[in-house]
């Protein structure tokens, strides 16, 4: 099948290749109403414009078997929740239809490719679209499935004896995060003020801007199909409940977290902001990149047995730190395969007692670090070995934690040229707690 698109300036090396087709929410100068779009190369296809401009006949040909008025209605909404709720069988048809429209030398090419009026309405350059949060996020749950991270941080907080609790290999440990402070890539991040125990000997905390502002490199997973309260989702059915994936930077103030988190878990150390990338990569786009999760030698409870080992994805992940002066250093390189628990396992565990997951709910993987050296780690806390070592940057600079003016960019992609599937970037710049 041709991997080329007729789209102007289509670069086969793009991470928004024909094999991707990620969904997002855009506004434009001409139309300030948020609506659905996909990314292709350096372009954006406005799906509201597409579905309102083409006649029912053509749309039925492109998206066979789909309720077209219903589809058009979901694509005109300000979030992707209603589209997600249509379910994966519909997402498959819609993604394939869009691929057919955009691929060179198919019978579908004329529908959009040779319709100058429609192209002028629906195709735009990415720089002319403003991205918004793709989903209205009802609840956000952050797991802790990155084994190497959990172990390394456990050692720092509780020593090697208690680094991993006895439950760690029996269940995907997670906690409820804060949905209201999830922001889309590009939103500036204010350094949080918090209670901090500067000197444990004094037992007297202070209230100050965090001195240990950190990142957490995570993969985020959006729920498509909801489950009713009281109804567990089996691990085998869980795949069909997944809409797609984003990059997630779960900003963390380590000094605030250390003082507050016992006994009920992280709170203000995490709830000031979490950044996600704007394009949702559909679950089907990642299927070719399956690989084995970290081996878990524990005999699992039945509800967590997947009957497959290739339950995670090998997405190359990178963390860039850009200083206020503009020097960029890639400070971390790892892969999303370094998880001990898969998202289907997280969903099966989350719903085991009957907790309802709604369309648009977000699950975080937990910080992802590799098994190797400091260059493979997904948080500064691990790179600086608990605050003890400096992370060297270009421009003769160095960090232990983030400085005001620093910008952190997460990137993730997989696949070869022509078939690349990537997330775009997940960016946040820190500004001072004092700045109003």
């Amino acid at each position: 099948m041709a991997t080329e698109s007729w789209i102007p300036n289509y670069d086969t090396n793009s991470e928004f290749s024909l094999a991707n087709i990620p969904f997002g929410i855009i506004t434009t100068r001409d139309d300030p109403a948020p609506r659905a779009a996909i990314a292709i190369g350096s372009s954006v296809l406005d799906l509201k414009a597409l579905t309102t401009s083409l006649d029912l006949d053509k749309l039925t040909k492109v998206f066979p078997g789909v309720d077209i008025p219903k589809l058009a209605d979901t694509l005109a909404q300000p979030t992707l929740n209603a589209f997600a709720q249509l379910g994966r069988p519909v997402h498959r048809v819609v993604r394939k239809g869009i691929q057919d429209l955009l691929r060179k030398d198919t019978p579908f090419q004329p529908i959009l490719g040779e319709n100058e009026d429609l192209k002028s309405k629906a195709l735009l350059h990415q720089r002319d679209a403003r991205m918004h949060l793709p989903m209205a996020i009802g609840d956000y749950t952050d797991f802790y499935a990155g084994y190497h991270h959990a172990y390394a941080v456990g050692v720092m907080f509780r020593g090697p004896e208690n680094a991993l609790q006895p439950n760690y290999t029996h269940l995907p440990v997670g906690y409820h995060g804060r949905a209201s402070s999830i922001v889309v890539s590009g939103t500036p991040i204010r350094r949080p003020v918090g209670q901090i125990l500067l000197d444990p000997a004094t037992k007297q905390p202070v209230t100050e801007p965090s001195r240990k502002l950190d990142i957490e490199l995570e993969l985020g997973c959006f729920i498509a199909k909801p489950n009713d309260i009281g109804e567990a989702v089996s691990v085998k059915d869980a795949e069909e409940h997944i809409f797609g994936y984003v990059l997630l930077n779960d900003w963390s103030a380590r000094d605030i977290q250390t003082w507050e988190y016992v006994p009920l878990g992280p709170f203000n150390g995490k709830n000031f902001a979490s950044t996600i990338s704007p394009w949702v990569v559909l679950a089907d786009a990642l299927e070719p990149f399956r690989t084995n999760a970290i081996e878990n030698k524990t005999e699992l409870q039945g509800y967590l047995k997947e009957g497959r080992d290739d339950s995670v994805f090998d997405i190359k992940l990178e963390v860039d730190l850009t200083t206020a002066e503009g020097d960029t250093t890639t400070i971390g390189r790892t892969s999303s395969k370094h998880l001990m628990w898969s998202f289907p396992q997280m969903i099966a565990h989350h719903t085991l007692g009957g907790c309802p997951l709604r369309s648009g709910d977000l699950l975080g993987s937990g910080t992802i670090s590799g098994p190797g050296g400091v260059g493979e780690r997904g948080s500064l806390l691990e790179m600086n070995e608990g605050g003890k070592k400096e992370i060297l940057l270009y421009g003769m600079d160095a960090r232990t934690f983030l400085k005001d003016g620093d910008t952190v960019t997460l990137r993730g992609s997989c696949g070869e040229a022509g078939q690349k599937v990537g997330f775009g970037s997940c960016v946040g710049r820190i500004y001072s707690a004092a700045q109003r």
Copy 2:
């Protein structure tokens, strides 16, 4: 001022007195569209019917200074979020206007009291209204401000040495709960299945229905006025961010919780369901019942200093357990004054780092127990002294934790006859994990 209403069958002993006027969301047989109402005595006043039937002139007289079309729009919505967002100054005027309409012998009485057509449209008996969740709850945060509970449970989980962590008296400890599983009073509660470590010696968990299903008696607080991300709410301004209060039963599976909660806090042990009472008692209705919080001898950080001691409410709280056979025993009697932290302090702490609270967000106080004997406690875990003693019930029955078929009812009220302010009941009946 007259404390009598002209409402038919008005009982001056009602907890929905003229001094209360709590807000809720109803549907009726004739009109299945959810909409706002208030409770008065054993009646309900449909506020959508009221504001759409009266002319602008009369409404302006009753609710002076309020944007009437905007008010009418918020009262016709399926949740109280938009009404809450109008802010406390508007809530004050609206509550007073409704009191004037309903009070005997005022110039306002004829507007509703002598308008038979309007009465037939807007006044109904409580049994003819179905109650719904009053708010669309974006995020739910559960605090731990019940000092006596925190201490007693801390002893059980970690021993007397570590019962309260060093942070407990410095900040209101809290964690993020699950918003999707909050249900309105009357919703049946399925016993959750979960991973449980039955025998710690074996280190091998099982997956079973919880054997230690418990309640938590809490006061819930709804947010009215939102704050922007990055903007802290000062403790002095926090009162104006409060919409009102409900009773909250934060159902807890202690065996699931014990195994899962280290190191990131409670998860499946709590997220299967939380029940709230349907009527939101506005913050102003509780003003007369202020009293001092539990004394905290720790020197507080500036952002937590309220400059007043009467920062909590003395609401009499009761817990009833009704067996499947229908025998009811009041197993707990306490007061909402047994908190070491006030809701304004919780709000100031929650937003200190910039976390946005949205209109409709729910804060739980944490379980409320008195300082006295087992009869003053807000959870079975405390009443049964960590599972060691039976709680005796009428009908020659007894419990350590809840049985299938048990119904738990929370009640709360304050004030003398004629001026009573109460919450109605917060009810949930347990059904078996095996039942489909």
